[in-house]
Subunit: 416 residues, 2 copies
């Protein structure tokens, strides 16, 4: 309801917002359940048709919608398609521009790596150098992923005392690199000179804390070069975008919530851990396994975030019908959720991933907010157009947490 | 759609907004009427039912709605329930976080005291001390309000040259304290040590301007202790949250409006006076008396704010049907308002007070904006759900004044 300002703020507005919310928090014996279907929002196959969510037979979500306030949540403002990192930060109540997850950290999370707070991650490229170490191909001819996976295994054998290294294939010449240790710094320069005909740069520390880390990473690169020297596919690596996870305000501190995350992919476990959720062990990888986990731990937490990956997977692969089926499967678990008698239920997504676009998109995301104290729109339908007419309107995803807290009886009045 | 920035901003954003509006103001011979039903927004008794406003038979408001733009106004952002002070500041176009009304001033306004700009107010507690002045009960056993009212009368007899004191009972051990004089300062420390077993603190001046005031207040406390010495109910007082009213931009200056307030409660008279409205004398205390006052002064002002208290009173006491009846009574005066031929009419509230919650709530408030130049939604209904589908959407209450000014032909084009 205010024009979105995209850019990073110069002041500490967001931190102050959380201090403000924190000042209103009061204890309550209530439970909030946030169900996130990744890339939930969609588009019809042809103009005038139905989206994936509108096509899906979702009797339980439709019934819940009737007792809920509906709207379209925008993770980062008009026209902006986001990655899962910023999309989730917004859902969790954080300004995704204020708290940016660095590229290296995103790459590691993106390959399901359980990145820890002290890890330093980077994006890696396999490349080709000549006998003098001069770059001849920055992408090693975009070698096939299966070849690069073998090289990653080889690099994973590198050992240096006091630290551990993780090297994971991403796609073609790209890999994710992580160094784990104590007191590491992530303010490190890239080694990719962005052109051929020169040697890759050395990693330079850009602050005092990162000096020892720079030495260790350069040592790793030297050992990598020796290990790769005789390889025809790629004989050198470059690293860029060094980043640790950002320090984030914690759910327990700012919201007074003991929070748990149920997710089977590393990216989502990583982002939830970042904001102070406990990541629950899921016995299996199916959607059913995730809901069983919810039931198992229901008594132990105030807030649950449950993540469904496959809606996005099929959105990105362009499989409209498969995305519809996943939504229908999720719908079938809603009665089990409601049997737990949650005080607040949010059903939404971190961004849209319309199958027709085969990609994340900027479209705001259908969102349902249920509680006994919500002003229900009374529309028995959960879908993009129903949500577009809902009383929440097009709203910032960052408003979901304050609304959930209010509906859970966890926010005192301001200045009364 | 951006998350409302809750906390006090470090920059002067709000003042700049008002300087900007001021730069566009042009004179016009038009009149704006703002009708505020306190705590107007409600909730249905059961899911799917009607709210107080939806239940009320409001033929005149419904007819006006048909020619109006509708929406749900949010005083302070998603999830935040506000007191009447910040709720009204937002309606009057001010950022309620930028201009916070201090706790002492709120307490005095809350007991209908006509707080003046130079007054310094505080929250008071009756307490109990032993023979050595050591605190034994910080709340004097929460003595009954009727006992504390008698003690307030007694303290009101205290006289010190050059200033006046006002002591008014609030509830149980709580009272409101006001010192009136010239050149007083309000940057004063609390006397409540927040624990028993020690003596109450003395008031300390925290800036130069407050030094003389601290002396006067300490003198008052000494006299109070002597007066209370033989009382069995409470034999000492403590004061905290010293505050004058904040200095606010004035309606005449920033909006070019000669503005008047019609309100029978001190809180609302105080907040209107704060922003430069003239508070009109109301001959009586009924709703009819207020509308009669509007008619009497109609020729003399550009802007009228009329406040209805009882919608909130019954919301807070949980009396759904009585709140419905108040709304119906207000509706009966709409023809008299329209007979005055106002150019702009706003009907809204400062916050929601659903009877089912018996409290202020965070739900955005049904709002109607009528003028000849508004884009009417054409919905013949004034209620929460009708407003939820209205063209104003969920919008910041701070947008009401700029919209009213524009519709009243009082804003020039920007950069044209």
């Amino acid at each position: 309801m205010k024009l979105y300002t995209y850019s990073k703020k110069s002041d500490d507005t967001d931190k102050m917002n959380h201090n403000f919310l924190k000042s209103l928090i009061e204890p309550a014996d209530t439970k909030i359940f946030m169900l996130i279907m990744d890339g939930l929002g969609g588009l019809p196959k042809e103009s005038g048709g139905k989206t994936e969510l509108e096509t899906a037979a979702t009797p339980h979500l439709d019934a819940l919608a009737e007792q809920s306030a509906l709207g379209l949540s925008s993770p980062a403002g008009a026209g902006i398609a986001v990655g899962s990192g910023p999309g989730h930060l917004a859902l969790f109540g954080f300004d995704p521009f204020e708290y940016e997850i660095g590229r290296g950290a995103l790459e590691a999370l993106g390959v399901d790596f359980d990145l820890e707070p002290n890890d330093v991650a980077a994006r890696g490229n396999f490349c080709t150098v000549d006998a003098n170490g001069i770059l001849t191909d920055r992408r090693a001819g975009r070698l096939p992923t299966e070849d690069s996976a073998k090289l990653c295994e080889l690099l994973s054998t590198i050992q240096i005392e006091g630290v551990r290294f993780f090297v994971m294939p991403v796609k073609e010449h790209r890999f994710a690199f992580v160094i784990r240790g104590t007191d590491l710094g992530d303010y490190l320069s890239d080694t990719d000179p962005q052109k051929v005909g020169v040697a890759p740069d050395r990693v330079k520390a850009l602050d005092e804390k990162s000096k020892e880390t720079a030495k260790l990473v350069n040592e790793f690169i030297d050992k990598a070069r020796l290990l790769l020297a005789d390889k025809s596919t790629a004989n050198m690596i470059m690293l860029r975008g060094f980043a640790s996870l950002p320090r984030m305000p914690q759910f327990a501190d700012i919201y007074g919530l003991k929070a748990a995350a149920i997710a089977v992919n590393g990216m989502y476990r990583g982002v939830s851990r970042l904001v102070g959720m406990e990541v629950l062990p899921v016995d299996g990888i199916t959607i059913a396994d995730e809901f069983t986990t919810l039931e198992k731990y229901w008594q132990d937490y105030d807030f649950f975030y449950l993540h469904i990956k496959k809606t996005d997977t099929y959105g990105e692969s362009g499989d409209f019908d498969a995305k519809v089926k996943v939504i229908e499967e999720v719908d079938s678990f809603i009665p089990r959720v409601m049997a737990l008698n949650p005080d607040v239920v949010i059903v939404g997504g971190d961004h849209s991933s319309p199958a027709v676009l085969k990609s994340h998109s900027w479209h705001p995301v259908p969102t349902l907010l249920y509680s006994k104290f919500v002003r229900a729109d009374g529309v028995r339908e959960f879908g993009e157009r129903a949500c577009g007419r809902g009383s929440l309107g097009v709203f910032s995803a960052q408003e979901i947490m304050p609304l959930a807290l209010a509906n859970a009886g966890r926010l005192a009045k301001y200045n009364a």
